[in-house]
Symmetry: C2
Subunit: 317 residues, 2 copies
């Protein structure tokens, strides 16, 4: 038997045909060239699934279940998906769309952050954990949370929206549309805070002055930080404070075994995990902080597709 | 059949013999006069259970299960209890202690905050909810959290330690021993912040100057606030900010149906729940905040004993 995992991202669709033990039989990626018509993305997924079903039945690895990771929210009860970056996917009936090719094969759809923590629990750095969090810090910020082995969904499937975490008083209208944590400490936030600093500190003449202010990104800030730049250090040190406070709040509330730091920022921020733990230890419930391990993602870009495969396996019971 | 709920507090032990529908057959309280010897408290509980078992078998309401709410942490796997205010209850074997009188009757022990949300879900203002939080703000701060109908325990039974929530940068060493949220916005915190303000603002000559600074408590602050005092208003308005931020973080992370505000502070702060919701709405995930209701505790002082009875009922399956 085999499992099929899919991970839909902004520019590509990754597929992995897996054995029951998680080993990869075959991998494939398809470019998501044009998301202007959201139905085209649905048709791309349907076509790719159809191809892999044909391949697997020819090769004798019959697919028993399919998992799909989506960059947004899955409404499991309705089989619909909300994905902010795909036009028309406000409440898109993805389950119905793929059902003409999946037929009797069970299909489970979940958010990318939920799939990432499931992947790490199955085959990555949270292996065997019952209570764990994947803190995804990239362009935006979200959390995939596992409680007693199950994904935390909430009453309307939108639990884990940690980018909205309130961490810095008083409220600023700048936070609207992002959330306080995401405003300050996402990948986009790192660039944004650096640009604010550059506009405010006319005396600074370091590396980050070599580029037009409006073009400064998180890559520039990490590069400046690595080279000992004072403004780069100020921005990254403030991020460490926010990441530590947010992780501390996860520790105090959930008493997890592991927090996995993933997303594009971890990446360059992986080496900061020990100082993030130090910051978190100041704030968190003092017993819980000694019961948790902070770690990087082991599967990195594969966490979503492997986790989708694991959801498929779990669906089989 | 009948269920027995017990709620151990700092000064009294409440017992309720309940029908399966939650209606009360008989109530009883016993004074906890002397907690110096923690084993005495265990013996008090055992003796009271024994009395009620005898009463119920005489009256034909046979007890089928027992639930006990404790002011601390229950380690369900071991049957032991940690309660900071009872000497010797660091890891006290309460289940073993009562087993000589409960014999074959199943006994479930849980924290007061877990019992409170269970009580509200069964018979109070969170009736029928699958995802709800009891935010207990009294001398300290804790949260009882229900996810898909089950109590959030965490990997070592200490989930819900929301008093440690990081909400105000930078870290202050004053937070050690309390947590940031509890330092600022618990019942004790209200008195503490008022005393700090009084020491810092020599120009203030209002109502709170009529008492020695070191004797100011949350009662005095709420009284001054109710009478329009400026310093009382400053302290309570800051608490509303903290309560709103913490509630917003629960909303963004858990996407719950209800947050119930309980504990001694709600109480006098019940009328503030609408402005707490306004503050939370600034910070929280904008869809989730429209899916949640903020409400007061319906059962108030009975939430723990009713919730303990509900845990007993759930134990029967």
């Amino acid at each position: 038997m085999a499992l099929l995992g899919l991970d839909l991202g902004g520019t590509k669709l990754a597929l992995a045909l897996l054995k029951e033990d998680g080993s990869v039989i075959k991998r494939k990626t398809a470019q998501v060239k044009d998301t202007r018509g959201g139905t085209r993305v649905g048709q791309l997924i349907k076509g790719q699934i159809s191809d892999v079903i044909n391949y697997s039945s020819d090769s004798g690895d019959e697919i028993k279940a399919i998992g799909i990771s989506v960059p947004g929210i899955s409404h499991a009860g309705k089989g619909t998906v909300w994905a902010p970056n795909i036009p028309g996917w406000e409440d898109y009936p993805l389950l119905a769309e793929v059902s003409s090719v999946t037929k009797e094969i069970p299909v489970v759809i979940d958010s990318d952050r939920a799939c990432c923590i499931m992947g790490e629990v199955w085959k990555g750095n949270a292996r065997g954990c019952r209570d764990a969090v994947f803190l995804a810090i990239g362009t935006g910020i979200g959390a995939g949370i596992i409680i007693n082995g199950e994904i935390l969904r909430g009453s309307h499937d939108i639990a884990g929206a940690i980018g909205w975490m309130a961490l810095s008083r008083p409220f600023s209208s700048l936070y609207s549309g992002y959330g306080c944590f995401e405003y300050h400490a996402s990948g986009d936030g790192i660039g944004r805070i650096a640009r604010e600093y550059l506009e405010g500190e006319s005396s600074y003449t370091g590396k980050l002055r070599k580029k037009a202010v409006e073009k400064i990104t998180s890559y520039d800030v990490f590069d400046a930080y690595a080279k000992g730049d004072t403004l780069g250090a100020a921005v990254i040190n403030q991020c460490v404070e926010f990441w530590g406070m947010a992780a501390a709040n996860l520790v105090s509330l959930f008493n997890p075994e592991k927090i996995i730091f993933g997303g594009g920022v971890f990446g360059p921020a992986v080496s900061l995990i020990p100082v993030i733990k130090e910051e978190a230890a100041k704030w968190a419930q003092p017993i819980s902080i000694n019961q948790v391990v902070f770690d990087k993602s082991d599967l990195e870009g594969d966490a979503g597709v492997i986790g989708a495969g694991y959801l498929a396996l779990k669906r089989l019971g």
